[in-house]
């Protein structure tokens, strides 16, 4: 499950629009997001971009230093999840239903990895997302993602 934390709702100021930068600051301090040290990069109406710095303990192969593919999954999980709240304009508890990642190429040793999550459709209970990961040039992606999140506890509309 991604961080569809009902508890997070109590941390976010009521009556204000969802702020991905602020929320990532809260989430990036603890748990798996804290371990990966996920940073907020930017957002638009329906997208959020986060980044993770390369680290020796996050690699898949010590000989090549390429990043473990699962790091990309966590990055895309968080970025796509936050893109839903961003499009929605508010936080609603949700969990990841499924997520698919296509690995176009490895993320090289020493390179920061960026993950942009985009919410392209919302229904009463489902958020449809896609996204991609890159090393600084969005025109040269290293992975593509698509998935769905299901809202829990309440519904929109």
């Amino acid at each position: 499950m991604a961080f569809g934390k009902p508890e997070l709702g109590s941390l976010i100021p009521g009556g204000t629009a969802f702020d991905p930068a602020l929320v990532n600051k809260l989430m990036g301090k603890f748990g798996h997001g804290g371990f990966l040290d996920m940073e907020y990069v930017g957002h638009g109406e329906d997208w959020v971009e986060l980044a993770i710095d390369w680290r020796e303990d996050l690699v898949a192969d010590p000989d090549t230093g390429i990043l473990a593919s699962a790091v990309i999954i966590s990055l895309m999980d968080n970025a796509t999840s936050m893109s839903i709240w961003t499009k929605l304009g508010e936080f609603r508890p949700q969990v990841t239903m499924d997520l698919r990642i296509d690995y176009l190429r490895p993320s090289p040793s020493g390179e920061r990895v960026y993950g942009r999550g985009i919410c392209y459709h919302l229904t009463h209970s489902i958020g449809f997302v896609r996204g991609f990961a890159h090393n600084g040039n969005p025109d040269d992606p290293l992975a593509h993602a698509s998935g769905t999140f299901i809202r829990v506890g309440d519904r929109v509309g």
């Binding site: 499950m1 991604a2 961080f3 569809g4 934390k5 009902p6 508890e7 997070l8 603890f30 748990g31 798996h32 997001g33 804290g34 371990f35 990966l36 020796e56 303990d57 996050l58 690699v59 898949a60 192969d61 010590p62 473990a68 593919s69 699962a70 790091v71 999954i73 966590s74 990055l75 999980d77 968080n78 969990v95 990841t96 239903m97 499924d98 997520l99 698919r100 990642i101 296509d102 690995y103």
Partner: protein, 137 residues
């Protein structure tokens, strides 16, 4: 601290305290203890950490299958689809992979993660790997 050369597990897996804890039908079972560093919403596992465990189990299974064939081919992951079925709670999580097809150029692998009982998976992963022969047999 465990070492990649001894355990066969990558630094990423060791950083999350994953270890080979058992074998099922000759395939390694990977365990991951609950800790803050694998936590998503409070008290529950992060989907990315579950996915990481599934990928490690899948890779362990395919290595075992290649060994059984006497192959020294390298593998390259093409993609993964993860279905999240239940919330992972604050306890040990296990995962095992199954190579459903091992061909000359690609392999299909499934991996299952569970806590209480293997019959109640918390997540399943479906992976495709490219098989890259190091030399012709």
């Amino acid at each position: 601290m465990s070492d990649t050369k001894i355990t066969g597990l990558p630094p990423y897996a060791l950083a999350l305290d994953m270890a080979v804890v058992d074998e099922l039908d000759g395939v390694p079972v990977i365990g991951m203890p609950f800790a803050d560093k694998v936590q998503g919403r409070p008290g529950f596992l992060h989907g990315g950490a579950i996915s990481g465990l599934l990928e490690m189990a899948a890779i362990a299974a395919i290595h075992r299958a290649l060994q059984a064939k006497g192959s020294d081919s390298a593998i390259k992951q093409v993609n993964v689809t993860i279905d999240f079925m239940r919330g992972g709670v604050g306890q040990m999580t296990y995962a095992v992979g199954e190579v459903t097809r091992l061909g000359r150029t690609m392999a299909n692998v499934e991996a299952r993660a569970w806590q209480e009982s293997r019959d109640k998976p918390i997540a399943m992963g479906y992976m495709h790997y490219l098989i890259k022969a190091k030399r012709e047999a």
